[in-house]
C-alpha cells in the first residue's frame, strides 16, 4: 500500500502513514464512511425502485404521443379523457392511428387468503401495434372474454405459480366477482401503488370496472406517420384539442414529467431524496471529525515540516490524500453491504432493487467528492501550524 501510494503521489504517503499508524481511528473513520454509504445506497435503491415502478407500466404499451386529462400528474391519477378526443386526433394530418387505453386498480383476493392490489391495463386487441412487441402476439388470445395476462412478479404470489398458465390450460382467479382466465404471464414487478399488473382487452377491462365507460378511457395513445417529427404532431394536436380538458405530450415527455412529479412532489420521492441528503451530511460530518482531529494531533509535526520549507499546499494535499483513502476504503464494504441489503429488501418487498454499475459509480464519485469536501474544510485548521510555536 505504502509503495503503491508513493508511486501514485511521487512522495511519501504521509496521509496514509498517519491513518494506518492509529488503527482504531482508521477503523472508526472507515466505519463512518461505510455507514453513510449504506444509508445513501438504501435510499437511492428505494428511490430507484420507486422510479422504476412509476415508469414500468409505460413500458407495456407503445405510443408516440399520449393525450391525457389536463389534471393528471401520473399514469393513473386524474380524470378520464373523452373518447371524442380520439376521433378529433384522427382527423389531424400526420396521425397514423389512435387508440384508447384504460387503466385502473382492482383488489384481488389471492387463493392464499391475502389480498393484492393489481393494476389493470386494457387495450383494444384489434390494434396490437399499441402493445409492447413481445405482447402483441398474445393480443389475439385476449379477445376472448375474461382472459388476461398476469404479472409473474406480483407481490404475494409464490414464484412459479403462474408458469403453467397457457391459453389451453388457463389459471383461474376471481376478480370483482368474475372468474378470470390467466392465459400467460409478463414481468413488471410490484410498485408503490400496486402489487402487480394485469394486461387485458378493453372489453374485459370494462367488465371488471363496472363504473368505467368505453367513452372515457384513461389516456388516448397516438401513433405518428412514419418519418414525421413527433413534436410537430404534438403541436398540431395542441392546436386542435382544448388545453383546459386535455394535455398532449410525446410519451418520453410524459414519462419524464411523471417521474419529475413522483420524485419531487410526492411525499415518498421527497422522503427518500431527503434520506440521500442526510446520508451525505452524516458522511461529511464523520469524515470531517476524523480529519480535523488528525490535523490537530499532528500540528507540531506539520509545524516542523513548515520549518523545513514545505508550503501550505503540501499539507492540504496530505489531508485530501487521507480523505480519498477513507472514501475508497469505506466505499468497498459499503457497496458489498448495500448490495446485500438490496437482495434482502427486494425479496421482502417485491421492489426491483438492483445495484447497477452507474449507481455504484455515482455513489463512489459522490463519496470521494464528499470526503474531499470534508478534507478541504478540515485544512482550515492547518493555519494553526506555526513553526514559532515549536519553541
Amino acid at each position: 500500500m505504502t509503495r503503491f501510494l508513493s508511486w501514485v503521489l511521487g512522495r511519501l504517503p504521509i496521509g496514509w502513514l498517519q491513518l494506518s499508524h492509529s488503527r482504531a481511528r482508521l477503523i472508526v473513520a472507515v466505519a463512518g464512511v461505510v455507514f453513510a454509504n449504506v444509508l445513501v445506497f438504501v435510499q437511492l435503491g428505494i428511490m430507484g425502485a420507486l422510479n422504476a415502478s412509476a415508469v414500468a407500466p409505460y413500458d407495456l404499451f407503445k405510443a408516440d404521443i399520449m393525450i391525457t386529462a389536463s389534471d393528471a400528474k401520473t399514469l393513473t391519477d386524474g380524470s378520464n379523457v373523452s373518447r371524442a378526443r380520439m376521433f378529433q386526433a384522427l382527423s389531424i394530418p400526420g396521425v397514423k392511428a389512435a387508440a384508447p387505453i384504460y387503466i385502473g386498480n382492482v383488489e384481488w383476493q389471492r387463493p392464499d387468503g391475502g389480498s393484492s392490489t393489481v393494476q389493470a391495463i386494457g387495450l383494444d386487441p384489434s390494434q396490437p401495434e399499441f402493445a409492447r412487441k413481445d405482447l402483441q402476439s398474445s393480443m389475439q388470445t385476449l379477445q376472448l372474454a375474461d382472459t388476461v395476462l398476469f404479472d409473474a412478479l406480483t407481490r404475494g404470489i409464490a414464484p412459479g405459480l403462474l408458469d403453467t398458465a397457457t391459453p389451453a390450460a388457463p389459471y383461474q382467479v376471481e376478480l370483482t366477482g368474475r372468474t378470470i382466465n390467466i392465459v400467460g404471464t409478463m414481468e413488471v414487478g410490484a410498485g408503490f401503488s400496486a402489487d402487480g399488473t394485469l394486461y387485458t382487452s378493453d372489453q374485459t377491462f370494462l367488465r371488471l370496472f363496472n363504473n368505467r365507460s368505453s367513452g372515457a378511457p384513461t389516456h388516448i395513445l397516438v401513433n405518428v406517420e412514419d418519418g414525421l417529427d413527433h413534436n410537430v404532431v404534438v403541436e398540431r394536436l395542441r392546436h386542435v384539442l382544448p388545453a383546459d380538458a386535455v394535455k398532449v405530450a410525446t410519451t418520453e415527455d410524459a414519462i419524464a414529467a411523471d417521474l419529475r412529479y413522483q420524485t419531487t412532489e410526492r411525499p415518498t420521492g421527497i422522503i427518500f431524496g431527503f434520506g440521500v441528503i442526510i446520508g451525505i451530511i452524516v458522511g461529511i460530518v464523520i469524515v470531517y471529525q476524523v480529519l480535523s482531529t488528525d490535523v490537530a494531533d499532528h500540528l507540531s509535526e506539520y509545524a516542523t515540516f513548515k520549518a523545513v520549507g514545505y508550503p501550505q499546499g503540501f499539507f492540504v494535499s496530505i489531508v485530501i490524500e487521507q480523505a480519498i483513502i477513507l472514501a475508497v476504503l469505506g466505499f468497498l464494504p459499503g457497496l458489498a453491504i448495500g448490495t446485500s441489503i438490496y437482495v434482502v429488501l427486494g425479496a421482502a418487498t417485491g421492489l426491483q432493487m438492483t445495484m447497477t454499475f452507474s449507481l455504484a459509480l455515482s455513489v463512489l464519485i459522490g463519496t470521494i467528492a464528499a470526503c474531499a469536501l470534508s478534507g478541504v474544510i478540515a485544512t482550515r485548521r492547518l493555519a494553526a501550524a506555526d513553526p514559532a510555536d515549536l519553541f
Binding site: L12, H21, V308, F391
Partner: protein, 235 residues
C-alpha cells in the same frame, strides 16, 4: 560559495527588537541586537533561561516574523519578506529542535527523507540511500526502519540531526541539539557540524548550555535579558 553573500555574512542582524504579547501585556524581549555571522563558522549563543537566545535563533531562521530592525539571511531581508520567499529560504537552511519533533507515523528513514522531498519528489531510491548514509553517520545504521516510538530520546535526537543535515543546508540553526545526547554522541554531532562548515562552508548557529561545546565554537555570543552582553572570538 553559496553561503557567502554580498555583505560577506551568512546572517546579518542589525538593530533588531522583538516584542511578545499585545496591548497592555506587550513586553519587549529583544533589545537592539546586532550580529554578523561569518560563513562557515560555528557560533554559539549562550545565556540564562529567558535571555532571548532561542527567540534570536528563530528570528534568524525565519520561523518567526521580524518586527523591528533588519535580519538578512543568505543575503535576503526577512523583515517584510513574502510567504513564498520565506518558504524558499527555509529549504536552504536546516533546523535542529530542542524537542526532536519527529513525525510519529514515519520511520527514521522516512523522517530524514522528508527533508529531501521538500526539494522536489525526484528519485526516491536515491533519497533513501542518502537518508541511510546520513543515519549511518549519526550512528543509527541499524535503526533506519524504526518508528520514533521505538527509539530512545538520544536516538530520536540523532534522527533529527540527520534530518537537518541530509540536504546539505547552507545554514544550520540548532536549539540545544546535544541536550538529550550523551557526551560521546553530543561531541559527534558537534564535530559533524564543524566538519560540514570546513568542507562545505556550512554556517552553524547553536543555542546551548553545554560547556563541552564551547571550545569547539569559533565564536561565543552571550545574551542576557534580550541584550548581547558579550561577543568573543574563540581563537
Amino acid at each position: 560559495m553559496d553561503g557567502v553573500t554580498k555583505t560577506g555574512f551568512a546572517v546579518s542582524v542589525s538593530g533588531m527588537n522583538h516584542y511578545f504579547g499585545s496591548g497592555e501585556a506587550r513586553k519587549q524581549a529583544i533589545w537592539d541586537v546586532s550580529l554578523d555571522i561569518a560563513p562557515g563558522s560555528l557560533t554559539v549563543l549562550m545565556g540564562p533561561s529567558g535571555s532571548g537566545k532561542t527567540t534570536v535563533l528563530t528570528l534568524m531562521g525565519c520561523l518567526r516574523d521580524v518586527q523591528e530592525g533588519s535580519v538578512r539571511l543568505l543575503g535576503e531581508e526577512l523583515n517584510g519578506a513574502s510567504g513564498a520567499q520565506v518558504v524558499a529560504l527555509r529549504k536552504r537552511i536546516g533546523f535542529i529542535f530542542q524537542a526532536h519533533n519527529l513525525h510519529g507515523s514515519l520511520t527514521a528513514t522516512q523522517n530524514v527523507m522528508m527533508a529531501l522531498q521538500v526539494h522536489g519528489s525526484g528519485d526516491t531510491a536515491a533519497q533513501r540511500r542518502a537518508a541511510h548514509h546520513m543515519l549511518g553517520l549519526v550512528g543509527l545504521a541499524d535503526r533506519v526502519n524504526y518508528l520514533p516510538q521505538n527509539l530512545s530520546g538520544g536516538q530520536k535526537q540523532r534522527v533529527a540531526v540527520a534530518r537537518a543535515l541530509v540536504s546539505n543546508p547552507e545554514v544550520v540553526f540548532a536549539d540545544e541539539p546535544t541536550a538529550a545526547l550523551d557526551k560521546e554522541s553530543g561531541m559527534t554531532v558537534v564535530d559533524m557540524l564543524k566538519d560540514l562548515g570546513r568542507l562545505r562552508g556550512t554556517t552553524t548557529v547553536m543555542v546551548t548550555h553545554d560547556n563541552r561545546i564551547l571550545d569547539r565554537a569559533d565564536r561565543i555570543v552571550t545574551l542576557e535579558d534580550g541584550r548581547v552582553v558579550s561577543d568573543k572570538n574563540n581563537t
